[in-house]
Structures are given as structure tokens and as C-alpha cells.
């Protein structure tokens, strides 16, 4: 089996080295890139997590990648979005009111209840729907202050609980979006990335 090349969008913020190491552990060959043509044409692409909702969108805008990423996801090209990478698939977030996300999922990210310790930092157990192809039950690492609360229509996913149920991850066809950080979620996280790379792809 040949090693799969994975375009990692160079967002210039966040724990990119961890993402690259995580892909290597899962058996992929990460290629750090900000070139829209490479992102568009690569079989696999990862949109890593960044600081805030607005920083995530601005990062994509500066690199001219907003439409490229949206088209990849709408065309069902294998794409993994992590943390804020997942959040910007939504319409918006309480974190930055008025900032438009990619709008692929018609919902808004909301902040965790003020009675909780925020950000949620640490390992929490997720429960995946039976139909999931990439996600499994297990403990994974979260670092988030905002979250979605319902699995949107047309998606499958895994739920978790922090002061109430929230969406830990979503998958649809060849698209995987994780609120948690698979790259630093030990063996459970590595297996999620490996299945995303290895499961037979649905036609784009």
C-alpha cells in the first residue's frame, strides 16, 4: 500500500507540529501547504484547529482558501476538519457574532454554560452512532469553549457530555469533523485518523 499524501492547510497558528506527527503515526504523509491548487487537488486534506472562530475564517480568507475548502466539502472530497476547523463549517459562533462561517451546517456554535470550567480542557468520553464509519467510542482530548449541541440532518456523529450533551464529532461521506483533537488523543485519536485515511471512499 502506498502512503497517502495529506495536504495540511498551513494556518500559521496552533499546534501544527502535533497535527503533522499525528498524521505520520496514522500512516499518512503530511504535506504542509497554503497553495489553493494543492489543497483543491489533493486526495486528502486537513483543516487544523486554530485560536478563534474569526481567526480561523481570516486565515482561510488570507490564503484564498474559503471557496476551495467549501467546494472540497460540498464535493465530498476526503477532508478532516479539527476543532475550530470544524466550528467554521457552521454558520457562525457566539465567539464572534456577525462573522460568517462556511455555512455548510445550518447552526451556530454556542459557549459552554458559565457554571463550568471553560475552556473544557482534558479527556472526555464520546459515544458514536452505530452508522459511523470513522468514529468509535472512547476517551479523547478536548480544548474548547464553544460547541454544537445537535447532530445536523444528513450527518452522523459522536456525542459527549460537559454540563449537557454536545457534539464531539461529525461525519458525512468522506468528510470528518472533530471538535476534539485526534492528533493528541492517544491511540483512540490515531485510530480515527487511520480509519478516515483507510476506509474505502465513497464516490465524490
Amino acid at each position: 500500500m502506498t502512503t497517502k499524501n495529506v495536504a495540511v492547510i498551513h494556518a500559521r497558528v496552533g499546534n501544527l507540529a502535533s497535527v503533522l506527527a499525528g498524521i505520520r503515526r496514522a500512516g499518512g504523509n503530511p504535506i504542509l501547504t497554503e497553495d489553493p491548487d494543492v489543497v483543491a487537488s489533493s486526495e486528502f486534506a486537513i483543516l487544523p484547529g486554530v485560536g478563534s472562530f474569526v481567526a480561523g475564517m481570516l486565515g482561510l480568507e488570507e490564503l484564498g482558501l474559503v471557496d476551495v475548502v467549501r467546494e472540497r466539502i460540498c464535493a465530498n472530497k476526503p477532508t478532516l476538519a479539527v476543532c475550530v476547523g470544524m466550528q467554521i463549517l457552521f454558520e457562525g459562533s457566539e465567539e464572534n457574532p456577525g462573522v460568517e462561517g462556511l455555512g455548510i451546517i445550518p447552526a451556530t456554535m454556542k459557549k459552554f454554560d458559565a457554571s463550568l470550567r471553560v475552556p473544557q480542557l482534558g479527556w472526555n468520553n464520546i459515544v458514536a452512532q452505530n452508522e459511523c464509519r470513522y468514529l468509535n467510542d472512547g476517551y479523547v482530548y478536548f480544548a474548547n469553549s464553544y460547541r454544537a449541541t445537535e447532530i445536523p440532518l444528513g450527518w452522523k456523529g459522536a456525542m459527549c457530555d460537559y454540563g449537557g450533551p454536545f457534539v464531539a464529532a461529525l461525519e458525512r461521506g468522506n468528510i470528518l469533523a472533530c471538535q476534539f483533537h485526534p492528533e493528541i488523543s492517544g491511540n483512540v485519536g490515531m485510530q480515527v485518523v487511520r480509519r478516515w485515511l483507510d476506509v474505502e471512499k465513497q464516490p465524490c
Binding site: 507540529a17 506527527a21 475552556p119 480544548a143
Partner: protein, 253 residues
């Protein structure tokens, strides 16, 4: 349910793990990469590397250590020690850290907390707060900096609230009175700080027995950091987590 975390800490200088009490009389204690991997296998929930390098050249070697540890480590890694600028923080993240620890520089240049948080997000910023009991008091603490050598006169509780307002996503709270004493964490300090802030608090300084870690969680800590208890091979991370689970604390199996 969000589990309580057990976090081993490696003090690293010039690419090697070092041991000493309160950063004095440092002696070589092995390879950081092998120890990091071993801690993950034992069930550590995160790892902290504290760079105690004294020179620029040693610090460069520590960056290389972070790179090598990252390749074998699949749990979160926080690196602190000597972070004075956004560029320092960026270099650590680029090498493989997931979070950066800011200590003395947070006091000398509080705007650094805002700057790092704005660029990389609050969840990336761990402010390390070193606390020492005020003279003749057992219920008031002042902030100390520069590896405990300098008292600032600032109230620790107010300081913790201040750094959270500026963007700290987590507080690593070390009791300077207890550090290296093996007499357990300063529980009164933990109670006060965890009540005063809304971000997670990591307890540090004084742990020598699993019972100490359990006490710290019960006092309000979200995570417990320890070094010598694990280095000396007396207890593994797994043994400590089993003891915590037996005491009814939720831990990652």
C-alpha cells in the same frame, strides 16, 4: 464526563532531564524522549516539559528535544520556561508543543498573555503562577517569580484573576513552600484559587504519594502535576490513577 488529569513534568536542560530541589544542584536524570514515551504508556493524560536551560545554546537544544518528544508523543504537550515573546511561543508550537507555559514574563510583561492568546487562542496559554505564603500568614499568598528567588508582593488570588482576564486558559499553580518538600500540595491555596477563577487549575508542588493527588482534586484542582513521585519510580502513573479511581475520582482508564 470530563476526567481529572494526571500530568508528569520533566525538567529539561540542554536536551537532558535534570533533577534538583528548587532548581538547585541539578543532576542528569536521563533521556526526555524515552521518559515521555514511558509516561504515555503508563497512562499520563498530558506531559509538561519545563525548560530550565541557562544559556541560549542550551535553549536551542531544548527546542530539538521538543521536536523529538513530539514524534513519539500522542498526548498533549505543554512546554514552559523562558517564554518571553510571541516568537518564543510560536517556536515552541512549531517544534511540537500544544500549549505554552508563561511564568516570569507574564509578570514583567502582562501584555504577552493577551498577545499569545489572541494569536493562538486561550486554550493554548497556561500561565504558571508560583505562590509563597506571606510572612506569618497561613491564608494569604504572594506571587514569586524568577524560579522563586523574587517576591513580588502581589496577592496570588488577584493575580490569577488578572491573568485569566488577559487570556490565560489554564493556571498551573505551584506552591513554592511545598515544592520539593514531599509534604503534599498546599490545599488551602488550591481551594482559594479554584474558587476564584473559571478556568482549569493544575496543582503543583509537594506531591509524594497518591493520597496527595487525591486531596488536591478534592480541594478543587482539575489536574495534578508531579515530577519526583514518578521519576523516582516509586509510583507509576497507572498506580496513581488506580488509586484516584478507587477514591471515586473520574480518570481516563
Amino acid at each position: 464526563m470530563l476526567t481529572k488529569r494526571v500530568i508528569p513534568c520533566l525538567d529539561v536542560r540542554d536536551g537532558r532531564v535534570v533533577k534538583g530541589i528548587k532548581f538547585q544542584n541539578l543532576r542528569d536524570a536521563g533521556c526526555p524522549v524515552a521518559q515521555a514515551k514511558s509516561y504515555e504508556e503508563q497512562g499520563a493524560d498530558e506531559l509538561v516539559i519545563l525548560d530550565v536551560s541557562a544559556t541560549l545554546e542550551e535553549r536551542e537544544n531544548s527546542l530539538e528535544t521538543v521536536r523529538r518528544v513530539r514524534e513519539v508523543l500522542s498526548i498533549p504537550l505543554t512546554v514552559g520556561g523562558g517564554v518571553r515573546s510571541v516568537d518564543n511561543a510560536a517556536a515552541l508550537l512549531e517544534a511540537g508543543a500544544d500549549k505554552v507555559g508563561i511564568n516570569t514574563a507574564a509578570y514583567n510583561n502582562p501584555g504577552l498573555i493577551n498577545a499569545v492568546a489572541e494569536r493562538f487562542g486561550n486554550q493554548c496559554v497556561v500561565v504558571a503562577v508560583d505562590a509563597a505564603l506571606c510572612e506569618n500568614r497561613d491564608d494569604a499568598w504572594e506571587l514569586v517569580i524568577e524560579a522563586g528567588t523574587k517576591r513580588t508582593g502581589h496577592d496570588v488570588i488577584a493575580w490569577c484573576q488578572h491573568v485569566v482576564e488577559r487570556g490565560a486558559g489554564e493556571i498551573l499553580l505551584t506552591s513554592w513552600d511545598r515544592d520539593g518538600t514531599r509534604s503534599g500540595y498546599d490545599l488551602a491555596l488550591l481551594r482559594e484559587v479554584s474558587r476564584a477563577v473559571g478556568v482549569p487549575v493544575i496543582a503543583s508542588g509537594g506531591a509524594a504519594h497518591p493520597a496527595h493527588l487525591i486531596e488536591a482534586i478534592r480541594a478543587g484542582a482539575d489536574a495534578v502535576l508531579a515530577a519526583s513521585i514518578f521519576h523516582d519510580g516509586e509510583f507509576t502513573v497507572g498506580m496513581v490513577k488506580n488509586a484516584m479511581a478507587d477514591a471515586g475520582i473520574e480518570v481516563r482508564p
